[in-house]
């Protein structure tokens, strides 16, 4: 086996590929689909990973979430035990604030459910989040005021009718006007429209997976409670005094919550204390599941593609028995013929791989253009995809190549 033979093999492979374009294309379709599936999906997932990393940076990594349910993906119905759990309340938040020495700030946050309308003159918005917050919101969520002022404890105490806007609301309602000091009208499912004075605008946050994080209106917590008196459930967000105190803060919060909710010492928590890492874990669970599905799909496609390659190579060996005889008569050894056909099979499946890579990248580019999902070029996976495609040719080419190598020149030269 020398370099000329590799070149010779690839040249012959190209010739026979060109001579049977349609047949070759159909043969490599399986390999093409398998590789395209891998490349397309990896490209999207790696794009997601990048934007998730950006999101984590923007939120700050030392945030603690206290919720009624564990964060994660549940298949099927939520079990009764979890549905019957007590809500996390405002009093819980106050208790954590007071009783946990390692916790620096606590922000109870509540989202108003149902239909909502925000109006300024002729402009109207219906799709936004209405959140009741405490003054600690800024620090805990790592999102600060850009213009005007934030909600103070006085606003909360006197239930003043003021609000702070996210960037999207400003753009939607005040395209050409400074919003500070203006009044907007807020209406909801259970309350008649009321006027609120704008006191500030928040810094812009980067969007996650193409979804804007600036589409919100913040109200003082107690003002919010007058609009949604029946909503008990809230999200409790806390921050340790320093990042080093993270573990300690989590332990203290868990202890306080267990006592307040009366969990016996031999029972597990009936609430969840999670961090950014847990959110990341959930995200990785999702992507790993996608990877698994992808591997299964592309394995099947590659298997089918491999059988196709084997089939067409067997046909090719039969068609070219005479050629093999000629080559052997003029000095080709068994292994020369073996390698010629292996290289041909690898060229066949390898070109399927190349087309698959191109197709997969094109697909992910297309997806990222028509949807908010980002795409990257996963260089390592391009390499892996190509290698796997070539290996498919190698593995499924062995038997046909072995058959070719066994051809007897005397018999095949008589073959017409």
């Amino acid at each position: 086996m020398n370099i000329f033979e590799i070149k010779e093999g690839m040249g012959m492979a190209w010739d026979s590929l060109k001579a049977n374009k349609m047949r070759s294309f159909l043969t490599i379709l399986g390999v093409l689909i398998g590789v395209a599936a891998v490349i397309g999906m990896v490209s999207i997932i790696q794009g997601l990973n990048k934007s998730m990393a950006t999101q984590i940076e923007s939120l700050g990594s030392n945030t603690i979430y206290v919720t009624k349910e564990e964060i994660g993906i549940r298949l099927g119905r939520t079990p009764a035990e979890i549905r019957k759990r007590k809500p996390i309340t405002f009093d819980d938040a106050m208790a954590v604030q007071e009783l946990c020495p390692s916790v620096g700030a606590v922000s109870p946050q509540n989202w108003g459910p149902g239909r909502k309308v925000a109006k300024y003159k002729k402009n109207e918005l219906t799709r936004f989040q209405l959140i009741g917050v405490m003054p600690s919101y800024e620090e805990v969520n790592n999102n600060y005021i850009k213009e005007g002022r934030f909600i103070t404890s006085i606003d909360v105490h006197y239930k003043t009718k003021v609000c702070v806007l996210g960037e999207d609301i400003v753009e939607g309602l005040f395209p050409h006007v400074d919003p500070i000091g203006k009044d907007i009208t807020l209406g909801g499912r259970n309350f008649s429209p009321k006027r609120f004075t704008i006191i500030g605008v928040m810094e812009k946050r980067p969007s996650i997976l193409g979804e804007s994080q600036n589409n919100f209106i913040l109200l003082p917590y107690d003002t919010y409670k007058t609009l949604y008196p029946e909503e008990k459930e809230l999200l409790l967000v806390a921050k340790p005094i320093t990042p080093e105190l993270m573990e300690k803060a989590i332990d203290e919060i868990t202890e306080v919550m267990r006592r307040r909710r009366g969990v016996p010492s031999d029972k597990p928590n009936d609430f969840a204390v999670s961090t950014q890492d847990d959110l990341m874990d959930v995200y990785h669970q999702i992507t790993n599941a996608i990877y698994l599905v992808m591997v299964v799909i592309s394995s099947i496609a590659l298997l089918v593609g491999g059988v196709g390659v084997m089939n067409i190579m067997l046909v090719s060996v039969t068609e070219r028995t005479r050629e093999i005889g000629i080559r052997k008569a003029i000095g080709a050894r068994r292994k020369d013929v073996l390698w010629q056909f292996l290289i041909e099979a690898m060229t066949l499946s390898g070109s399927g791989g190349v087309l698959g890579i191109v197709f997969g990248l094109g697909l992910s580019k297309f997806i990222s253009m028509v949807s908010p999902l980002p795409a990257t070029v996963p260089f390592l996976w391009v390499l892996i995809g190509f290698s796997v495609a070539v290996s498919v040719g190698l593995i499924f080419g062995i038997y046909p190549a072995y058959r070719a190598a066994k051809v007897d020149p005397i018999v095949s030269l008589r073959y017409e």
Binding site: E5, E8, I330, G331, R334, I410, L413
Partner: protein
Amino acid sequence: MLIKTENLWKIYEVGAEKVHAVQGISLEVEKGEYLAIMGPSGSGKSTLMNLIGCLDTPTRGKYFLNGQLVSQLTDDELARIRSKEIGFVFQTFNLLPRATALHNVELPLIYNGTPSAERIRRAKDALKMVDLEDRMTHRPNELSGGQRQRVALARALSNNPSIILADEPTGNLDTATGSEIMQLFGRLHSQGNTLIVITHEAEVARYADRIIHIRDGKIEKEERLTKQG
């Protein structure tokens, strides 16, 4: 002595029957000789050619090529010998249909590992020897029968073999083209090449120095021809 065979036998088993294709042939060929092996079909001359051409091994007997005992070698060792010592010319030309004339001629050199530059030079030289240097980029289907046989002859010459072995080289050609090819053989012989032609036609055998007549797997008679001119 270039070729020396001692009591060569080749016995095929076809079903329960044994076919004695070659029955104890002993012959010697000297370097630079032009030999014709003649016989009717079924005489065993093709089997003898396969043995001499190292495509096959004898059932019994010894075969020395260039002093080397080659009758007991494995398939791959025989392939090695073929790529160095033997150039084949077939009745049906046996060129690779998708390859150019030049590439067809290069092929034996690829298998004996000749570096690329030298390979192309030698392939071009071989094509020049058969007067086809202006047809190098043509494929077999763009060439006439006589031209195809000349490409095959160039292929046989390219690795500078000890013997050129031709099996009915004019069998698929008309008389005029056939005699052109035979004249080319004569020219190659005069340049010092050893030629063995297997044929059933006396016309073709006539060009050789010596004719060995084969019948029923045995040497029937041997005649030496006096050189004309």
